[in-house]
Amino acid sequence: MFVVTPAYAESNPTEGTHSEAGAPGGDAHGGGAFPPFDQSTFASQLLWLAITFGLFYLLMSRVIVPRIGGILEHRRDRIAQDLDEANRLKEEADNAIAAYEQELAEARKKASAIAETAREKAKAAADAERSTSEAELAAKMADAEKSISAIKAKALGDVDAIAEDTASDLVKHLLGGSLTKAEVAAAIRAASGK
């Protein structure tokens, strides 16, 4: 405290002059009143506090508070709006996915139906083809059999002529005589008709 005391004493004259200059006739603040309790300064402090704080309050209530409040509200609105938008988009996306899946299922069903009909059609066509070709084959076979039997009959008919020729040739060679065709044919007929 040895530091403080002389300095404090030093401040007394200034305080005294201030009091004299500030509030003539003031009595409560003799000598060196502790500054915060020096009543001669109260009026000035109150006045200037009223002016500065009053203006500050006006500025706050008229400009700053509405402005910051507006900024915060705008941001809140914007965020809420963005969230709504995001929700809406999500819903849309969900709907699109559902629609897509439904369509996919329908397409699958349709595809299998198409495949089924195609298979059936193909089977029917194959069956028809098979039956026509079978019929064709049967007809061809019948033709072939017919021609075989015709050839056979013809061949069999020729056999008699060949036999007659052969027999007459044999007779001519072996016996040296000749026979009439009628005789040979009768003889063959007799031989084959046994």
Partner: protein, 249 residues
Amino acid sequence: MANDPISQFQIKNIVPIEIGGLDLSFTNSSLFMVATAAAAAGFLFLTTANRGLVPSRLQSISEMSYEFVASMLRDGAGSQGMRFFPMVFSLFMFILVANLFGMFPYFFTVTSHIIVTFALAMLVIGTVVVYGFWKHGLHFLNLFVPSGVPGLLMPLVVMIEVISFLSRPISLSVRLFANMLAGHITLKVFAGFVVSLGGMGALGIGGAILPLFMTVALTALEFLVAFLQAYVFAVLTCMYLNDALHPGH
């Protein structure tokens, strides 16, 4: 003079003004009131000028202080209390910036004078009383009559309530004033030790280290106190406003 811990609270005339025998001079205190209001308002005004949807750093400081006070008021006095928001916000910002300005060397601390803190406290209590009577009429006096007190104790309880109400402006103003005053005196005394011990040769310089550390630590503490006292003042304002809004206990 330099080592005197009291001289920092001295009020000095800058522009002497005297009206009707009243000393209304523009003093160093007035200068710092103007500086406080200008700095606080200027900061809030300029940082929010862009109205950024995505705030810049400085804009978010302004927004944070707004929301800080708003949530304080909403918690303390309910959503009806928001009509007093400009007042509470102004008080908080003004006291905070005045306290913080006081932390600059050679700056005057506006809130270290009882008359200033008392005037601010009377503003709060005056608002509470005027609004309370205007809104609730004589029902505002229910504030002093807690429910559920046995009849015999009632006079005593009412007396205690009245005294506690009357002491509010005093406690509100003295708390802020005393904190600022004591903090600055302590800081000055310890800093004075550093200087005076440092002037005493090698041993003194060794001995000055301790008060130097104390000064550094106290400076940090004083920054905390500067914020804390502004916060306390605002919180108590909210609580008192709550009484004006809801006088029944």
